[in-house]
Amino acid sequence: MTSMEDTLTPLSEQAKALLKETGIPLGEYQEIVRLLGREPNRLELYLFKVMWSEHCSYKNSRPLLRTLPKEGPAVLQGPGENAGVVDIGEGWAVAFKIESHNHPSAVEPVQGAATGVGGIIRDIMAMGARPVALLNSLRFGKLEGSEGDRTRYLVQGVVGGIAHYGNAIGIPTVGGDVYFHPDYQDNPLVNAMCVGLLRVEELKKSFATLGRPVYYLGSKTGRDGIGGAAFASEELSEESESKRPSVQVGDPFMGKLTLEATLEAIRLDLVEGVQDMGAAGLTSSLSEMAHKSGLGLELDLDKVPRREAGMSPLELMLSESQERMVLVPRPGRERALEELAARWGLDAVPVAVTIAEPVFRIKSEGQVVAEVPTHALADSVTYVREGQESPEVGALRAKDLAALPIPTDLHGVLLNLLASPNLCSRAPVFERYDHQVGTNTALVPGKGDAAIVRVKGTKRGVALKVDANPRYCRLHPRLGAMHALAEAARNVSVVGGEPLAYTDGLNCGNPETPHGYYELSETIGGLAEASRALGIPVVSGNVSLYNEGPSYRIPPTPMVGVVGLLEDVERRAETGFRKPGEFVVLIGEPLGELGASEYLWVTEGLEAGHPPRLDLQREAKAQSAIRDLIGMGWVRTAHDVAEGGLAVALAEMTFPYGLGATLELRDPGRPDALLFGEAPSRILFSIDQGHLQSAVAHLQSLGLPHRVLGQVGGDELTILLPKAQLKWSVNELKRSWEAPLREVLP
C-alpha cells in the first residue's frame, strides 16, 4: 500500500471510535474511504471488516498464492470458486476442497469441528456435486503429562464433532491424519476436506444473470457465529473463551435436507447459480456472487428468515448460522424451486435481486442501510512483507546428530515407536466415523495408504489422501511443504492412483511478524516447487493464519489433500501382506536419516537436524514405477516408508492380515538409521516369484535404486542386521501399536 496521508482529512471522533471498535487498521480505513468517496457507516465498516479479513480476502497470502501452478490437463475449475474440479473421464468429474476450522475448535471442539465439516460439504454441493467422501487432518498438543487432560478433551470433542455431523448427514469419512506435537497445545488444527462427484455438464458456479431473484435456502438466521471469519483471523487469547458465541452450531439433519434439496434443484435444472453461505454469511455469499457475475445486488433484510426476533441489520449480515445456501433460479422456475424446498420442509425466499449498478445495497424496513461497490469488498488491500527465519529454528536444524548414542535395545525401540501417539493405530478414531455409507469405499481406513472411492457404473476409482509432517515443516518450512505434497501424492500412487490435483489448507502463524511471514512464504514457495516438479496443480484451498499466541507459534502446516485416479479400481494395492511366499522389495535405499525423525523424538525427546533431502525427479519416477506395477496387476500390497522408517513400515504391513516376514538389512551404517531413519521416495511392496524378475527389470529400466529384502510368511517379523538378528511376534507389535489411542477414545 502506498501512503495516502497527504490526501486525507483528519478522522472524525465517530470514525476514531469505530476504528477502535472494529480493530480495522488506520491504513485500511483510509483505503475504504477512498474507495467509497466518503466515510463508511458502522454497518458498512463491518462489511469491510469481515470481507477484508484474511479468511475471506487472503490479503497476506494472495500475492504468494499467485505463484502456485493451477493448470493441468484434468483441471475443469481452479481456485476462486467454492471448490476445485477435475475431470476423471467418462463424463464424470470430482469437486474437492479442504478448509480449516481451527479457532472455533479450540474454543468449542464439538461444534467447531462439526461445523467445519458442514461448511466444506456445502462448498462441494455448491459446485453441483454430490459429496461422496470426507477426510480430515487434525493436529493436537501433548497427550503426556499435565497438559494431556486438555489434549484428550480436545481430541474427544473434535472426533465427536466430526462423527456427529458426517455420520448423520450420510457422507463417509474415509481418511485423514492425526498428529501430536507440543506446538499445537494451545492451538489445535482441524482441517476438513470434502470430495464430491458430478457429471461434467452439471458443474455449477457462483453466478447470476441480471434482474434475477436470489433465493435463500435452508435454516433460519440466528445470532450464532457472528463475526466468525474475523475471529478466525485473529490470534487466540485469554478472551477467546468469551468468543464462544462466534462459534456456529451445526445441525446435520438440516444439512442433509439442504443438501438433498440443492442437488435435486440442480438435477432438475431449476437453477443457474449456486453459492454456499459460509464464512461471513449473507455478506460474503451475496457480494461475491454479484462481483463474480459483474453485477450489483439489492438485498432486502426484511425477507431474511429469522430464528429470533429483534436482530439488527448488523447481526443479520454477520451471522454465520449454518445450513444455508444461495440459489438463483432459471427464469420461470421460481415456483418449482419454492415447491421443491417446501417438500423438504425448508425456507426458500427471494431475499435479493441482481441489478446492473455494481453495488451491494442493503435495505431494512424500507431504508437503504448500507451501499458499497461490490469490487471494493472483493478486492481488499494486499500486503507483501519482509520475512525472516527464526534463529532458533536455524540452530535446531544445524544440530549435529552424528554423536548420538546408538540404543542397545533396538527390539524395544520398535515397540516404543509403534506406541508413539504419532504412529500408533488410528482405529479408535476412524471407528467413530461411518466410512462406508454410500457403498463406494473400496479401500477403508486402516487398509491402505490412501482411501479409494469407486464410481458406480464405471470401473473407475478415486484415491484420496491428506498429509503434512509438522517436524519437517517446523525445521525447514520450504522442504517440509515439498515433503507434504510428495508424500500425499506418494500415498495416492501406492494404492494405484495417478495424482491429478491437490487442495491445500495452509495453517501458519501471524503473517504480520517476520518469522510468521517467512514461514508462510517459504511454505507456499515449497509447494510451488514440488507442484511444478511433480506436475500436480492446486485447484482449491484455504489459509488459516494467526495460529500463534504470546508463547507459541504452530509449525507451518500445509495440509495437502491429493486426489488421484484409478482407471480400474480392481487394480489397487493395500498396505498389508496377504500372501505367504511373496518377495518383499524396497524401492529406494535402506539407510535413512535421523534429522527431524520420529525416532529422534521418541528416543531422545529431540526435534532437530535437517529433514531428509527430497529429489523430486526421483520421487516422480518412484511413484510412476509403483503405479505401473499395480496397474499391470502384479502388485497388490504396497506401502510408503514414512515416519519411523523401514522397521515401522514393515511392522505396519504385518498388521492387517497378521502375516509376518523375514528380511535382511545388511548395509553398513548405524543400525538405528537403517531401521528407523527416514527418507522420501521409498516404497515397499510384495510380489510373487512369477513377476519378481519383470518387476525388478522395470525398476532397473527407470534407473531406480531397489533391493529385494526378503519374504512374507509366518507370524513373526524378523530383521537380520549385519551384527544382530531382531525378532518380534506380530501380536506383540500389534499390542503396542493398538493401545495408546484406545485409552483416549475407548
Partner: protein, 232 residues
C-alpha cells in the same frame, strides 16, 4: 414384484439399499415418508440413517410418519418387511418387533466389521444362507444394543426368533471381545413370530460386492428375490 425403500427425512442408506436390491435383480423404488399407499409393492425396506436427525431417540419420530400405517398393514398381511440399522430401530419403536435398541456399551457410534452367525434359513430373507454360516458384515451405529425383558428374551429364544447373532471371528483368540455393542444374547437381528418382519443392526447392503470387501450380505437380497418370484 417391486420393493419399496422408504425414505424418511434423514435416511442415508436409502440409495445403498436400492442399489443392493437392484443388483439382486429386484425392481426397487424410493418411497417418500409421506406416501399414503404402498399398493403394488411386494416388500418394504426401512433403510439406515438418522431419521429426523435421531435427536430425540433413534427411530422415535419416524414411527409417526404417514407411510408407517401402510408398513404396518403390509406386515400384518404377511409381506416381507425389513429394517436395517435405523430401520430396525424404527420397527421396534413402532412395535412391529419386540424390545429396544439402547446406546452401545462404549457409548459411542462404532463403525467396523463384525461376525454373525445365521440362526434361521427358512425366512424370505435368509433362504440363500446355510444354517450356522458365519457372515462378515459391517456395523455403523451408536444405538445397537438389543434389550428386552427376560420374558421376551426367553420367548425370542424358544420360538427361534433370533436370526443373527454376533460371534467371534473364526480362528481368533477365544478371549477376544466380539459383541460390539453389548446386545443381550449377542442378538444382531430378530424376526417377528410370523417370520416376515426382520430387523438387524449390521448392514448387509454394504457387503454385496468384492470391491467393498465382503459379499456376505448378498444372501439377504438374493433370498428375497427368490421369495418374491415365488409369490408372483
Amino acid at each position: 414384484m417391486k420393493v419399496a425403500v422408504v425414505v424418511f427425512p434423514g435416511s442415508n442408506c436409502d440409495h445403498d439399499t436400492r442399489w443392493a436390491l437392484e443388483r439382486a435383480g429386484l425392481k426397487a423404488e424410493l418411497v417418500w415418508h409421506t406416501e399414503g399407499s404402498l399398493e403394488g409393492y411386494g416388500a418394504v425396506f426401512l433403510p439406515g440413517g438418522f431419521s429426523y436427525g435421531d435427536y430425540l431417540r433413534a427411530g422415535a419420530l419416524a414411527k409417526f410418519s404417514p407411510v408407517m400405517g401402510e408398513v404396518r398393514r403390509l406386515a400384518q398381511q404377511g409381506y416381507p418387511v425389513m429394517g436395517i440399522c435405523n430401520g430396525f430401530q424404527v420397527l421396534t419403536e413402532a412395535g412391529l418387533l419386540p424390545g429396544a435398541l439402547l446406546a452401545n456399551t462404549n457409548l459411542h457410534y462404532t463403525c467396523k466389521e463384525v461376525f454373525l452367525r445365521v440362526e434361521r434359513t427358512d425366512l424370505a430373507f435368509t433362504s440363500d444362507y446355510r444354517k450356522g454360516q458365519v457372515l462378515r458384515l459391517p456395523i455403523a451405529h451408536g444405538e445397537g444394543r438389543y434389550y428386552a425383558d427376560e420374558e421376551t428374551l426367553a420367548r425370542l429364544e424358544n420360538q427361534g426368533q433370533v436370526v443373527f447373532r454376533y460371534v467371534p471371528q473364526p480362528g481368533a483368540a477365544s478371549e477376544a471381545p466380539y459383541n460390539p455393542n453389548g446386545s443381550l444374547l449377542d442378538i444382531a437381528g430378530i424376526v417377528n413370530e410370523r417370520g416376515n418382519v426382520l430387523g438387524m443392526m449390521p448392514h448387509p447392503e454394504r457387503a454385496v460386492e468384492e470391491v467393498l470387501g465382503s459379499v456376505d450380505g448378498e444372501g439377504i437380497f438374493t433370498s428375497l428375490s427368490k421369495a418374491l418370484s415365488a409369490m408372483a
